[in-house]
């Protein structure tokens, strides 16, 4: 049962730099099904972060459409986009991920509070999810009292707790050492698959691709290649090993 969770149709994003126009995202189209974990890779400046911002309804494309659960983001008001972000999108960021004055558990529960669902069941679920991520003894720690990997795992829990349609991860491994990075991405991939979410991870580290189902490669704003089969994906991940 794989339904289309996210659909991108001919998206173009143009920025004006010193009077000349540059297409940061240049006619990109793809679909992501629920239960699928996709990596968006490419060198810096390839437009992957811009693409992510458009998927998150933080940037409006110059032309083209983005549909989440069949809803067209470009037809929404700013207020509707705020609601969409808290209901249908889960987010992890590269740094400054967590609210520094909330504990691990409170950070996860905050997502439920935003959606008005911070009930008893929700609190139990966030505790279970954190336990699943190996943070059982860190529930009441503030972000500053946790390691980078632990913080990233709390962010993953926050991105999943409210059962969003799409989970977006911006360079989740940027501040982690290799071993931790593999652990985090593996857990992330497992949760995406178990919970039947559509996961999109932006990364410049091709080694992380070994846990994903598909890889979208961008260069100069264009989607240049899609690695579809397991063999292709694994080959790419191994290539990133040197």
């Amino acid at each position: 049962m794989s339904t289309v969770a996210l659909e991108v149709k001919n998206v173009i994003k143009t920025f004006s730099v010193d009077g000349s126009k540059i297409n940061a995202v240049d006619d990109v189209s793809f679909k992501v099904n629920s239960g699928e974990f996709v990596a968006l890779v490419g060198p810096s400046g390839s437009g992957k972060t811009t693409m992510l911002s458009i998927l998150a309804a933080l940037l409006t494309p110059t032309s083209g459409q983005v549909l989440i659960d069949g809803q067209d983001l470009s037809k929404m008001s700013e207020k509707q986009r705020v609601v969409l972000r808290r209901e249908k999108i889960g987010f992890t960021f590269q740094s400054n991920n967590l609210i520094p004055y909330l504990t691990a558990k409170e950070n996860v529960e905050f997502m439920l509070r935003l959606n008005g669902k911070a009930n008893r069941a929700g609190r139990v679920r966030s505790q279970e999810l954190l336990a699943r991520l190996g943070l059982n003894d860190r529930l009441h720690n503030l972000p500053a009292q946790m390691s980078g990997g632990q913080q990233q795992r709390v962010a993953i829990a926050r991105a999943l707790i409210h059962n969003p349609t799409v989970v977006l991860a911006d360079e989740p491994t940027a501040s982690l050492d290799t071993e931790r990075a593999f652990q985090v991405v593996e857990t992330f991939a497992n949760l995406i698959h178990e919970n039947n979410r559509a996961g999109i991870m932006v990364t410049h580290d091709l080694r992380m691709c070994k846990y994903v189902d598909r890889v979208l490669q961008m260069r100069d704003g264009k989607l240049v290649q899609i690695y579809e089969t397991k063999d292709e994906v694994m080959a790419l991940a191994r290539g990133g090993d040197h």
């Binding site: 972060t49 933080l58 959606n115």
Partner: protein
């Protein structure tokens, strides 16, 4: 809005040390503002108390005296003419002077000696003993403040020292009654009958043999206080060479009164301004440090309203705590102040100062709240 309050309170609690220090700064500003307000009130009260407590609506001055009590001189015929004006219920003469009481321990207590007629506007209600009986009686009604400072009781005799011509003259008066809260030009007051006043008051050689007392101003009680405006013109039309005004104008023209209140109020206003700048600066720096974090809050779906209101709640809570601590400190300090320092923590002035203090928090933090609302959620992705 519960979410905003949740965020605001969590942040304050988890950074309580830092927020407490800011609250302490606000507390010190509160302390200063409240003391300045109390000082203004205390100075003002000591200056105007007698006039503001008068049982009268209008005060009659000599024309072109600019409503300054000591420069106004009226005679008995003016008093009679005022009493004849239709609508005037009663009118009493007030003659002012400054003199001294010789105390048993050899000290001198400076007092305002006011010449007023018994039973007329000008003589406040007697709270103990009785009022003096004739216009010539060597009797006096004294302010309780005089009694407290000098240990004088009803029935005692006091010695008043006045310089008349080039000689110091001493007069003995019997204290027959007490009145309350009657300070005038920073001195507690003793009241004497008009003719006694003329005999006892300090005067120049030329005035030495005068017996008919000069009147400074006339306090007028109206039959219908709501007609004060109309009665002003009516008295001015019927009595020659006078100008009439209300109690408020009389107070603001007490020599030095307006200048002094203006000085104190300016000090208070500047202290509040400093408060606005301190609070504004702190919260602005704090918001600048929080830009990425606010970006994340917005990116995961917090509305501008939640973020902005959280900032407002935070500012109000910190301000309220600061003002609370400051109020408490002020109260504790006020217990240790000697009664001779003119501090009056009267309800109105203090309440006004506290309201102003509670307002300066949001006023100072306004810029930072606007800044917080304007932060782009793209900051979370290090874009824009």
């Amino acid at each position: 809005m519960g979410l905003s309050i949740y965020l605001a309170l969590k942040e304050i609690w988890r950074n309580r040390g830092r927020f407490f220090l800011v609250a302490l700064v606000i507390a010190l500003i509160t302390l200063l503002v409240l003391f300045i307000a109390a000082l203004g009130e205390g100075l003002g009260t000591n200056n105007r108390q007698y006039v503001s407590n008068l049982d009268a609506q209008l005060i009659v001055f000599l024309d072109k005296s600019d409503f300054i009590i000591p420069s106004s001189r009226l005679d008995q015929s003016a008093l009679k003419a005022v009493r004849r004006v239709d609508g005037v219920a009663d009118a009493g003469p007030i003659s002012t002077s400054s003199t001294a009481i010789m105390l048993d321990n050899g000290k001198v207590l400076k007092v305002s000696m006011l010449g007023v007629e018994a039973g007329r506007p000008g003589l406040p209600p007697v709270i103990e003993g009785r009022t003096y009986q004739t216009q010539l009686a060597k009797e006096t009604v004294i302010d309780r403040n005089v009694a407290l400072r000098s240990d004088i009781k009803v029935g005692d005799e006091i010695t008043v020292r006045s310089t008349q011509g080039t000689k110091d003259e001493f007069f003995t008066l019997k204290v027959v009654g007490l009145t309350e809260g009657q300070a005038y030009t920073f001195q507690p007051t003793i009241f004497v009958p008009p003719s006694t006043w003329e005999r006892v008051r300090p005067k120049s050689e030329a005035e030495a043999n005068k017996t008919v007392p000069d009147i400074n101003v006339i306090a007028v009680k109206l039959e219908d206080p709501s007609q004060a405006e109309a009665m002003k013109s009516k008295i001015e039309a019927n009595v020659s060479n006078v100008q009439v005004t209300d109690i408020e104008t009389t107070i603001s023209n007490i020599p030095g009164y307006s200048a002094q209140q203006g000085t104190v109020q300016t000090q208070g206003a500047f202290t509040l301004l400093i408060g606005v700048l301190v609070i504004g600066g702190f919260f602005q720096i704090q918001i600048l440090q929080k830009v990425p974090q606010i970006g994340v809050l917005k990116a995961i779906g917090s509305s501008n309203g939640v973020v902005g209101f959280a900032a407002v709640v935070q500012i109000m809570v910190v301000t309220a705590i600061g003002v609370g601590i400051g109020g408490l400190l002020t109260y504790v300090f006020s217990l240790f102040f000697p009664p001779t320092i003119p501090l009056v923590f009267n309800g109105n002035a203090s309440a006004l100062a506290i309201a102003a203090l509670l307002f300066i928090g949001p006023a100072g933090g306004l810029v930072s709240v606007i800044y917080a609302v304007r932060i782009e959620p793209l900051k979370a992705l290090r874009l824009s």
